[in-house]
């Protein structure tokens, strides 16, 4: 499956090798005009194992009595929406800050700033470019 390496900003072409619904490895995409068949150690050898790590988050978590505990999406969305709305209504939209991700897709980033500006009503939107 041709895609783009998830590490640095070079954007090397990566071919993900899939077997039985799992990633088994990666290879360079020789068709990529950026990398023309080259990768570095991270793209070649570190782009698939973390995906199937047993430590991946698999369900929402909500802090109860000081501990993060398993919750449903309904509960998680409900709580986040209710608390964000309450803070916006009592302290104003600028009491909320959203930090987007240089690791997420463009589409996710676009929706994050749309959530900030159109839904919450603040320009307090930034990303990790400064660090």
């Amino acid at each position: 499956m041709p895609t783009v390496c998830p590490y640095c900003g070079t954007g090397c072409g990566l071919q993900l090798l899939v077997k039985g619904g799992r990633l088994v490895g990666a290879a360079p995409d020789f068709a990529s005009p950026v990398s023309e068949g080259s990768l570095c150690i991270k793209g070649q050898f570190a782009s698939t194992e973390f995906v199937h790590s047993g430590q991946r988050l698999t369900h929402p978590l909500i802090r109860r009595n000081g501990m993060l505990q398993k919750a449903s999406w309904e509960q998680a969305y409900g709580l986040v929406a209710e608390r964000l709305a309450a803070i916006r209504d009592t302290c104003g939209p600028d009491a909320i800050a959203l930090w987007s991700s240089a690791r997420a897709t463009n589409e996710a980033n676009y929706l994050m700033q749309k959530l900030a500006r159109a839904v919450i009503g603040t320009n307090n939107i930034d990303n990790c470019a400064r660090t």
């Binding site: 783009v4 390496c5 988050l57 700033q113």
Partner: protein
């Protein structure tokens, strides 16, 4: 980047500044090596003897934080010796006389004193840069992660403008971005001042366009950058923080400050793929799908929008970020009915002139498209400013050398500079889970010059205590001449054992708020016999 990665191969002169390219951008470094093979001259400006120095014709090991003195002096020499591109300067620029006046004091001799380089090397580099057919400036965070980061970039841009090394193949001023979609995050408007496509949020006509498309008022009040928001949480003015895909408490400067702020927030929501150090502080954690589990696009450092494809299913109930955000927006009374990321993209393209010609259908071609791409039949733009400066005229920047915010003193006599290594990445959430990698770099290392190590009787491999005004960590020493005397280096890839950003300073650039991760004062002590 103003120009493209592959163009570097055809440059005749490469000025690489504050970039450990072979380790942090290994595949871009391949183009630099090819350029050298084809006869280009390579000059590396870096206080550390980075691996790229091996391929360079000249290494300029300047003192940390003295970049402006060097580049101003190079500009001084270019003007003094009449080596600037007279046609380009006359037709496309403004303010040469003011620049000349401003640079009067930046003689090579003065710069030599400030930077620790020889005046001769500065003059030669200026002459070679100005004489080259196609000179390309390449820089990374060694330039920007300073309190004077913006000014550093401007002093470099002066050189390109003076010599007309812009708007042509193999030239330009080229920052190498560190994360796969850091370019895209900015392009999409995840900056307080800009709506998507770098359309300024303080302009009424821009807001009106988005208000019409989104059906909601867009705030005109300026927003907070991340580091400012951290301060405002501690002051009680910001109550809620929503973080998507970033291990902030490990990656950001002055970690104890960041952690205190996130702990103080009334609501912390973290959306991520692992329970990172940051997610552990959250009130609500939302499980996200990773790059191999989503359809979408990333934009690389040369403005190239490329397709990311779903190869496998996300684990458990984890969902793609775009879907989580749309569903949450619905709960907040703003339904979003996207069925696929391509519909989100179409909305972006419809609202952003620089992306207007890019569609998922066109992105099926290998390599995607480079913006600006204003229409469906536009081939994309490998290099900017082809018809002269985008803004009509290029202006010279009159910037002065200012030392780093925190200089070494008797109590903290060494400068700590931080960066990345080849086989590990950022806070280690991904590479830390790759088998075999521990054999390459098993733990954090403090790189220290043999002279400094000898003065402190520290042996290679010995564990030491590193202290700054903000924190303290233990770390093993690697004695190496990669570090110059008086400077030590650490990465931030092993937060479990050595949390480097407990040490770093959040002194920041006045214009961009970028913290000075490249310089803070520390003390190194032996553990035994304390």
């Amino acid at each position: 980047m103003s120009n493209s990665i592959r163009e570097m191969e055809d440059a005749s002169f490469l000025l690489v500044v504050g970039s450990n390219t072979t380790e942090t951008h290994p595949v871009i470094a391949l183009r630099m090596k090819q350029a050298v093979r084809k006869g280009a001259r390579l000059v590396v400006v870096d206080p550390r003897k980075v691996e790229l120095v091996r391929y360079a014709h000249r290494w300029l090991p300047l003192h940390i934080g003295t970049d402006i003195a060097l580049f101003n002096a190079m500009a001084h020499v270019v003007i003094r010796d009449g080596l600037y591109n007279t046609t380009y300067v006359r037709e496309k620029t403004e303010g040469l006389a003011a620049l000349e006046e401003h640079l009067k004091g930046y003689t090579p001799e003065y710069a030599a004193q400030v930077t620790g380089l020889s005046a001769e090397a500065i003059v030669q580099t200026a002459h070679e840069y100005a004489a080259a057919d196609r000179a390309s400036i390449v820089y990374t965070l060694g330039v920007t992660e300073h309190t004077c980061g913006t000014h550093n970039v401007q002093s470099l841009a002066n050189l390109a403008i003076l010599t007309g090394n812009l708007g042509r193949w193999g030239t330009g001023v080229n920052p190498l971005r560190g994360q796969n979609n850091v370019q895209g995050a900015g392009d999409m408007g995840c900056i307080p001042t800009d709506l998507p496509g770098y359309q300024k949020a303080d302009r009424p006509e821009v807001r009106a366009k988005f208000e019409e498309a989104w059906g909601r008022p867009i705030p005109s009040r300026p927003g907070l950058t991340k580091v400012t928001a951290v301060d405002q949480v501690l002051k009680g003015r910001v109550k809620a923080v929503y973080i998507m895909g970033e291990n902030t408490v490990v990656s950001d400067a002055h970690a104890s400050h960041t952690r205190a702020a996130l702990e103080a927030a009334d609501l912390l929501v973290v959306q991520d793929i692992f329970l990172t150090e940051t997610a552990q502080l959250a009130h609500v954690v939302l499980p996200a799908a990773c790059y191999a589990e989503v359809d979408g696009t990333f934009t690389n450092t040369e403005r190239r929008v490329q397709r990311v494809r779903r190869a496998v299913e996300p684990p458990g109930e984890a969902k793609p970020d775009w879907l989580i955000l749309s569903e949450l927006a619905g709960r907040l009374g703003y339904p979003m009915a996207y069925r696929h990321p391509s519909e989100v993209w179409d909305e972006v393209a419809g609202l952003s002139p620089i992306l207007a010609g890019i569609s998922y259908r066109r992105l099926e071609q290998a390599g995607g498209l480079q913006w600006p791409c204003p229409s469906g039949d536009h081939p994309g733009t490998p290099y900017l400013h082809a018809d002269g400066p985008e803004s009509g005229k290029a202006y010279f920047s009159l910037v002065h050398h200012v030392p780093p915010a925190e200089l070494p003193d008797a109590e903290f006599p060494l400068v700590l500079t931080t960066g990345r290594r080849r086989s590990t990445y950022h806070t280690g959430t991904m590479t830390g889970r790759a088998s075999g990698f521990k054999l390459l770099v098993p733990h954090e290392l403090l790189e220290m010059n043999p002279t400094d190590a000898a003065a402190l009787s520290i042996a290679d491999g010995e564990e030491v205590l590193v202290t700054s005004r903000r924190g303290q960590v233990k770390v093993a020493v690697k004695v190496t001449d990669r570090s110059p005397e008086g400077t030590v280096f650490m990465s931030f890839h092993f937060p479990d054992s050595t949390h480097t950003n407990l040490l770093t300073s959040d002194a920041r650039d006045l214009i961009t708020d970028t913290p000075e991760l490249k310089a803070c004062a520390v003390r190194v002590e032996k553990l035994s016999g304390r």
